[in-house]
Symmetry: T
Subunit: 140 residues, 12 copies
């Protein structure tokens, strides 16, 4: 059974509390349980950190054995070359996801350092963005 | 049953012939048939044109009655404000898709006029990008 | 009696349906009839197309015999050097008009390829922008 | 009867003397008398100053009681955020006009600080630009 | 005998009428007849359209069988990624030509989307630019 | 007792009238009286002008004898190198203040010519910005 | 009694050691004790970290219960969108402070990611910048 | 005998007081007397104002009768299109001078709006810059 | 018989040795002999130098008597305003040629200082670029 | 005996695993042992972390007592002003090194925040870059 | 008697032949003789070269003994950091002169690498620019 | 025994005379003798020229037989694509060195055309930069 890590970056622990008009009012832990039910054919793990370097560490740790990573790096998407280097340094395929459509938001959220080193990008579908990413791994 | 239009823009009629290292060697018509089989709960239609204004016309024609549009505008993605205006002028939700990961390609393919007026964006998964977009409409 | 073409470009066929908060809810055909009444001393014609090249064709066709053109090119204003070349290639004077004040909208609507080759520009007065342009031809 | 101020900014007192190939050789005072004749249904006033702050003062003075302002700010169009703030701080609607088509001239004349806070813009019709602006107020 | 398409884009049907100081006063049809006489060893065809997508269609149609294309895309040179994609999607070699020396004209004519996907570029020699392009195919 | 000038630039005479959602609805004169009460240990003076050069003149006049200046230059903050030169030419220390948080407003309000020649900057606290500036002089 | 956190970011633990010509030679701990004496009506807390994600964590922890935060993020001011997102995700008001006048220093210190999400900004007054920020909370 | 106006703009009344390391410590009035002695064959006049619009007024007043103007506009050099328009609107030739070598100073002092409309530019020679400009008029 | 100079700039003496995948492996001297045979109706001369100023000297020497110059300036194409000035200072017409299609290479090779002062440009045809240029002179 | 810290930043723990075509396939620990042998006259220490703030902490800890630091910050080189501030805040001299020639790689790797605060830079020599840096300290 | 070198750079040997509408039709040698007559109190020498490095050599040769240099570097003004370094490396003061007003010409002639290292700049007075520069040395 | 050329570009003959605060006061010839002593296992040669094209000539001459080049091109580093092309056209490996840390100096010295075609770069160590470069060749 394929093993997949869902990895959330900075401030995403606030989901359900922060700016609900943008991110909805449901915690990610709730949603993760639902995903596990929806994808019984995938072994799903979850990791979150607000520290850029810890996200790098986690990618190093699982990035040569897991079958895929679904990564929402939050604001580090726009500032972290370190995460991009980590992704290109590992062998597990990574999908970049965003809850909101970042292109409808501030200019500085339109550029991602990660997109060029990920398999693909899924953004703007709310929490559904994660589900669609998992659909890709299921199919594949 | 929800009605969905899959709409391909300029040069996408060459799929299967053109630059197979980038786009694969399968025609879109073949793939469309497969999608119809995979999504029996969606009424799928297909339209392709190389002419920007005809794509606008089609969006006007179906954009107040269909339940969704999956749009790969090809190179017009990067140059057409007209298409963006058409999308924001209609009521059907539109998903932007790309076969290749445009962020791994030339600089001028990194900006999309369409993203800010679409629901969301899915890119980089090969023809699977279309399937994932349909998954969104199925769920919803 | 001077002959004038009012020419509307891409998406302007949606007037009355699309984003009424921006464009009002009246169709252009209605308004055109009113203009014909207001300007009995001008022979007014109307043309609309969503296809850039057809707008060019129309300018070629009437641009050596008509006494003036009132052009709202919609989004092609911002992307079409081809239309600008067509305007500078014909002899009929062209006035650029816009319904909304484009300078209050997105950054990419602030630049016009057409302004430098038109006689003048009138923008921001709603449908009145067309009437003011016709006033210019009447006077003249 | 609506009260309208025509307000000319810097260097426009030179009209009729300066660069006649660009601005024509008629003084604005002459033209103003003609406008008063043409618009007997409007009470027209005229003000000119070369000092940015005096233009601001005048806008403050009449900007809560007049029915409209027709403003040609000359070179301050391109450099004065102060005038833009004054316009957005008053309640009288302001129309920006220019005698020449500024988009056919130097690059630094293509940007206006004022456009985004005015009702609309009319430019390129020679002195007729002022008449067209008054037409708008007459109609309205 | 090699088959070559000479393809003219937007506004080039005006040759002989439009801005003769820039483009000369001879129609392209005349010149095409002369070229057929000068190159009896080449089978020459001619196509012109003002519609970007029709130019793409024509390239798709002949681009896998003709021995070469001489393309003057007019203003689409500077705005059309779609044409560039079409050129890189076909197998016939394409030469970009321009009648005028575009580097002596406006800044926005200095950049071409097409140059990087064409075999070579010839510009500035008036109608002779086409002849020199054909010399290349003859030799080859 | 230290002598301090509070100096307001262009459009700030409109305080209490203009855009109350941004600037509040209290006149500066009212507030100035309150400040005099709050700071009995400072001799406070007040000056306002809409004319850039008069602000320069005032700085020259008092800038070698006063103990401090609290300056809100309004829109001249963003366009006036002349004011910056005046500040660096005098010996009295100047504090730049703004009522609103200019970084939440339009892009062109994010740059100040004055900051680099002032002692410090205080912005975003409404009229309290002036009070905090005076606190600095009191302490000192 | 209002509870306020003073939070210092990267390298600010070096205060008193590092570049004394810029930052003075007093440790922040000393100064903090003095502030506690000066503001007996505020409950003051202090936190410092060199790790961006730990600053985010701290903001999450106290940002829904404290009455205010005085934040000097050091160099993260100029590079961290993550901190800006954290500030906009919490409910406690945050004031951005800087010891030096960053506009007198290198170009890259002139832009702050944080200013647009803070209540206000106070900079350039040495350690007094913190005191002035607390004055704001006291008053309020 | 040729009549020449020496015209100083904003902050130049501070000469002799302000930043003597940059501008020297001699007042311009002193120097003007010396120039009158050195150039008995020129009728020299002097004007200074800190108000941009007054400088424009003065140019209008003398710009059709004097034989030349030596203009040091101070900081308005870098921000005033209005002064440039005034210079190009009059017939007297204008020479731009600067006391300091502006290219050794801040970046924003490297661009002049005035240079393109003046006869020539002389900068960097201290007060001698004025003398060299007068030499030009003497010779001529 | 028309006299034509073929002039090669910096590093082009390495032709046949350097980066053969880009420039082919034939020396220019060989090719020059072939050109002399192909164009018996032109008197061809050849000059090469790696020193920018010597190329200028040569243009001065022959630029008032020769009937044409075919110039491949190598890297000086992108950096030398001096060569552009030399070309515009002489009366012989100059054609700019490049062996490779510079638009397929690094960004800094996309701009030429020379194009705006040459008759025309031919690039991308390998050594054939020189032949096509001579064809132009033959015809003419 | 001089004490030197070799400090590796983010992702450099992957050396030997990651992108061997760029970084070679030898772990840094191996190489470090070799360096200790080669430089018996230097006391060498080694530290690696993926967390930006921990690198700052380490610099603070050893930066007032060690005789030198050889720093390869990895991707933080291009994004971290915090590290640059830490380097300029300590007294130990720091040499910036890179294994690959960053100027042959992506554009965003061409700029370093660290270079301006380091003694010098050595890059492109593979692991030898570290050895050359140590040679500098040995000599000195 | 002060010794002064007048040094002309690239293409200035063409004076009198080249673009007389810009540079006049008098050779520099003629003018130099006249200058020697006008300045009997200065020992004048003249040097011209089209080779950048020879100009550098000449500056090294005379730059520690001559009392001044009047330098018109022609196009090298805009491209040569080497000449700027040579000027800052010698002790003789250098004045930058230009015959034409470079600010009225192409954009790329508006920036000078030399201005920041010269004493001052004199431009736009035709050949008189040299005379004015010598006036400076005479006085001094 | 490996043969290495040390090659100095423009203005470096002034070492020991010019700006000693930046470059020290020792001539390069002195230092070269010392290097010969320190590296008895390398055959060292030295070449210096101020003429860009002569540096290119020298690289062509020795660049297919020498074992390495240590190049300090001086100001040509920042302006010469020609030198970069020469380096990539030869087979001897080239190391770029600089005496000063160019990233601590003016902005225009931060970019090198040469870095992307050299093996590596060593800068900022004073004359030691040359020694470290030779260490690399020795080892290798």
């Amino acid at each position: 059974m394929p093993t997949i890590l869902i990895m959330n970056g900075v401030n995403l622990n606030l989901l359900g509390k922060r700016e609900p008009s943008v991110y909805g009012n449901r915690s990610f832990e709730d949603y993760f349980t639902e995903l596990q039910t929806q994808f019984p054919d995938l072994e799903l793990h979850y990791y979150q950190s607000n520290i850029e370097g810890e996200l790098v560490n986690k990618l190093h740790e699982i990035g040569f054995s897991y079958d895929g990573v679904v990564l929402n790096a939050g604001a580090y998407t726009h500032t972290s070359i370190a995460l991009a280097d980590a992704i290109s340094g590992i062998t597990s395929p990574v999908i970049e996801v965003h809850i909101s459509n970042v292109h409808k938001r501030e200019e500085f959220r339109h550029h991602s350092h990660l997109s060029r080193v990920c398999v693909g990008v899924i953004l703007g579908f709310g929490l559904e963005s994660y589900r669609l990413a998992l659909e890709y791994f299921r199919k594949k």
